[in-house]
Amino acid sequence: MPKAMRASGMKKCIGCFTCMLMCSAYNQQNHSISKSAIKVATRGGMSSGFQATVCLACKGSRACAEACPSGALVSRRGGGVILKKDLCIGCRKCQTACIANAVNFDEETHLPIICRHCGVCTRYCPHSCLVMEDSDD
C-alpha cells in the first residue's frame, strides 16, 4: 500500500525542529530551515503551540500539478506530486496554486521545494506528531 506523510499529531509537538533540519539534510544535503519541505512554526510566540505546514498529499486532481505549465509535477502514488527537476522552469505557479501554502521556493536553486513523502521527518519526530499513513490512491 502506498503511504503519505501526515502531520496528524501536532498537539504533541515540542518544537524541536528536528524534522526540518533532517528534511533539509537528507533531501537537500544542507543544514537549513528554509530548504525543508515541512515548516513547523508557532501560531504567534512560544506560548501559542506549534503547527505544521506541509503537503497534504492531495489525491485526484492536484492543483499544483494542474498549474504547472511545463509538466514538471507528476502525480505520486499515495497522494501529492513528484518534481521532475529537469522539466521545471521555476515559474512558481505551483506555489500560488497550493491552497495549503505547502510549496516553498528555493531561491538558490530556483526550484520549488516539494515534499516527497519520504518519511525522514517521521523517523526523526520524537513524539510521533508526524506519521506515515497508508494512503490508497
Binding site: I14, C16, T18, N30, K39, G45, M46, H127
Partner: protein
C-alpha cells in the same frame, strides 16, 4: 565557524553606533561557546572600571556544531557580573543558538551605551540599532510581543529581552530568551539595562551545504537514537527536573525557609507529580533538542470580580520550586507558579530573588531590619507579600530594596545577618544542601553555580574525602569547559563522551585528537581563571555564611574547617596550573 578555519565575530558598539565583523583564526584554539566568549571577554573587559560601565562587553557565543547535532542547543553569555563584580557566565537555550548559526555568527560582542533606549536587530549581513523608547518600562513578555510584530523572520528568529529589573540595574536581573528560557544568573539583565539595551533579535536563514552527508547522517542518527531511546535523557522529559523535589527532601538536602531546615513534612503539594497532575499543559524543546525538558504549567487567576478568570502559563523547574517555594515557605504549587510569573514579568533571576527574600524575611523576624524598610510584613508562606516584595526589588522601591537588589551579600554586610544570608562567593545559593560537594563546588566554581562542577552529584554518589572531592571538582570543572565550548546542554553530558565529541567535531570540519581536546579544555579554564584574577577575585577571601554549617546537610553536619580545606586545596591546584606556563 562550521567547515571554516576562523571564528566570525559580530561587534556592535552602541556608543559609536558602528558595526564590525572580525574573522579570527586564532580563536579556533578556543573552539566556541565559553572558550571564545572567555577569550573575547578577557580582551575587551576593562577591569579598572565598574561592571556596569558602558565600555564593558557582553559576549554571546555558540559552537561549530550548534543545533545540527541533538541537544547542542545552548548559547554562552559572558560579561562582568554586577552581582559578584567578577566573571559573569550564563547559559540559555531556546532558539538563540539556531539563529546565530544560521545568521553566520559564532559570537556577538556588544559594547558601549546607546543614547536612548534601543533594541538591536541582527541578521545575515545586517545589524541595526533601533528605537526602543516606547518599550522602556515594559515587562519582558510585552516587549517580546511588540518586537515579534515589528520585525520580520517569524519562525527563524530569537528574541532576547529584559524587564523592569534590568532597566533598574538590579544586580540579578535576567535576560529572557524566547519566552521560556533565560540567561538567569549573575545579572546579564542589568548589563543590558546599563547599555540602554531593551532587547536583541537575531534572525538567520542561511543554508550550509553538508560536504559528506553519509558521515553526518550516521553520526547524527546514532546520537539521536541514544538521546531518544535510552534512559539517559528520559527523566528530563517525563516529570522533568522537579522529580528532584521529593528526592532532595527525603534525603534532607532541600533548602527550606532560608535554610533553617533541609527538609519539610509537607512536600507532596510541591512534588514533580503534583505539578504534572495539576498544572502541566505542554512540554517544549529548545531548537535541535528532541528531548523537550521545558515543562509548561498553567494556573488560573481571578483578575476581577464576577467570575473573570485568565489562564496563565509559565515554565517550571526544580530550582524555581526550591527558590520560590520551599525557601520562602510557599506550600502549594499554585503559589509557586504565581511567583514564577511575577519574577518572569519583572525580569529577575528566580533563584537569587527567592534567596534574598528568604534572608529579608528572617532579618525582619530577628529585628535586624524593620517593616518600614520591607514595606510589607514578609513572613514565610505569605504569597501576597512576596509578590509585592519582588516588585519592590525590581523597581528598587526604597533604599532597603535598592540594597537588596544588589544581592544578599551586599545587604547582609550592610544591615547584618551575614551568617544567614545564603550566598556563596556573592552568588545566591542553589537548591542543594547536599554536603561539601555542593557547598565547596559552588565556591570554587568559576561562576559559583551548581553547574560549574556538579558537586551535588558527588555528595549523592560518593563517600566524602577531601582529596577525592578536590579531584572530582577539578576534573568536572575542566571537562565542562569543553562541553560548554561546544555549547552542549549539560543534561546531555553523559551522551557526549569524548568519543562522540570527536566524531561531531570531525563532521563539522574541525577534527581534534583526545589530547588536543585536553589541551583546549585547560586553555579555556586558564582563561577563566585569569579573568577572575584580573577582576580581583581570590578564593581565599570567600567567607561562607555560618548557616551552612548549622543546618545539617544531606550528608550530615558540615564543618567550616573542612570546607575551607577543600577550597584551599582547589585554589592551590589553580595556582599551580597558572604557574605552569
Amino acid at each position: 565557524m562550521i567547515n571554516e578555519n576562523f571564528i566570525r565575530v559580530l561587534h556592535i558598539d552602541l556608543t559609536s553606533e558602528r558595526v564590525h565583523i572580525y574573522k579570527r583564526e586564532d580563536l579556533n584554539d578556543y573552539l566556541g561557546g565559553v572558550g571564545v566568549a572567555a577569550k573575547l571577554l578577557e580582551e575587551y573587559m576593562r577591569p579598572e572600571l565598574p561592571p556596569l560601565a558602558p565600555e564593558q562587553p557582553i559576549v554571546l557565543a555558540i559552537g561549530a556544531a550548534s543545533t545540527i547535532f541533538p541537544v547542542i542547543t545552548k548559547t554562552t553569555a559572558m560579561f562582568i557580573s554586577p552581582l559578584t563584580g567578577e566573571l559573569g557566565e550564563s547559559y540559555a537555550g531556546g532558539r538563540l543558538a539556531l539563529t546565530m548559526f544560521h545568521a553566520g555568527y559564532d559570537a556577538v560582542l556588544i559594547t558601549g551605551r546607546a543614547k536612548n533606549p534601543s533594541y538591536i536587530s541582527v541578521r545575515e549581513m545586517l545589524a541595526e540599532i533601533k528605537d526602543a523608547r516606547a518599550f522602556w518600562g515594559m515587562n519582558a513578555d510585552g516587549v517580546g510581543q511588540y518586537i515579534r510584530m515589528r520585525e520580520a523572520f517569524s519562525g527563524k528568529r530569537s528574541i532576547l529581552r529584559i524587564g523592569p529589573a534590568g532597566e533598574n540595574l538590579c544586580s540579578f536581573a535576567s535576560v529572557c530568551v524566547d519566552t521560556y528560557r533565560h540567561f538567569g544568573r549573575l545579572g546579564l539583565g542589568a548589563v543590558f539595562g546599563s547599555k540602554n539595551l531593551k532587547a536583541l533579535q537575531i534572525a538567520g536563514d542561511r543554508s550550509i551545504p553538508i560536504p559528506d552527508f553519509k558521515k553526518y547522517g550516521s553520526v547524527y542518527s546514532e546520537l539521536y537514537k541514544t538521546v531518544t531511546s535510552t534512559e539517559i535523557m528520559s527523566k528530563y522529559h517525563d516529570l522533568g527536573t522537579p522529580v528532584n523535589v521529593v528526592v532532595l527532601n527525603e534525603g534532607g538536602g532541600l533548602p527550606v525557609e532560608n535554610l533553617n531546615a533541609a527538609s519539610t513534612d509537607n512536600i507532596e503539594e510541591l512534588s514533580g507529580n503534583t505539578f504534572a497532575k495539576k498544572h502541566l499543559v505542554r512540554k517544549v524543546a529548545c531548537t535541535g533538542c528532541p528531548v523537550g525538558c521545558i515543562h509548561i504549567g498553567q494556573f488560573r487567576r481571578e483578575f476581577d470580580h464576577g467570575y473573570e478568570y485568565e489562564a496563565v502559563s509559565v515554565s517550571y523547574d526544580y530550582e524555581l520550586i526550591f527558590a520560590l517555594g520551599t525557601f520562602l515557605g510557599i506550600k502549594n504549587s499554585d503559589g509557586v507558579l504565581e511567583l514564577i510569573e511575577a519574577v518572569e514579568e519583572l525580569g529577575l533571576d528566580a533563584m537569587s530573588c527567592g534567596v534574598v527574600l528568604g534572608w529579608a524575611t528572617e532579618a525582619l523576624k530577628k529585628g535586624i531590619i524593620s517593616e518600614d524598610m520591607t514595606i510589607v510584613p514578609l513572613d514565610f508562606g505569605s504569597l501576597d507579600n512576596y509578590l509585592e516584595a519582588a516588585r519592590y526589588l525590581a523597581y528598587a522601591e526604597n533604599e532597603f530594596y535598592a540594597d537588596l537588589a544588589k544581592g544578599v551579600k551586599h545587604a547582609s554586610l550592610k544591615y547584618g545577618g551575614y551568617d544567614f544570608g545564603m550566598q556563596i562567593a556573592g552568588n545566591e545559593m542553589p537548591g542543594y544542601h547536599t554536603g561539601y560537594g555542593a557547598l565547596t563546588g559552588a565556591a570554587v566554581g568559576a561562576r559559583h553555580s551548581h553547574l560549574c562542577n556538579a558537586g551535588y552529584s558527588f555528595d549523592q554518589s560518593k563517600p566524602f574525602d577531601i582529596e577525592a572531592l578536590v579531584d572530582y571538582l577539578y576534573a568536572e570543572e575542566v571537562e565542562r569547559c569543553l562541553l560548554n565550548s561546544l555549547t552542549i546542554c549539560l543534561f546531555a553530558r553523559k551522551v557526549y563522551d569524548r568519543d562522540r565529541i570527536m566524531k561531531v567535531l570531525d563532521c563539522v570540519g574541525k577534527p581534534m585528537t583526545n589530547e588536543e581536546l585536553d589541551r583546549a579544555a585547560l586553555r579555556i579554564f586558564k582563561t577563566k581563571l585569569r579573568i577572575k584574577q584580573k577582576l580581583g577575585f581570590k578564593l581565599g577571601n570567600v567567607k561562607l555564611p555560618k548557616r551552612f554549617f548549622q543546618t545539617p546537610s544531606m550528608t550530615g553536619q558540615l564543618k567550616e574547617e573542612t570546607a575551607a580545606a577543600v577550597i584551599a586545596a582547589f585554589e592551590k591546584r589553580c595556582e599551580q596550573l597558572l604557574a605552569a606556563d
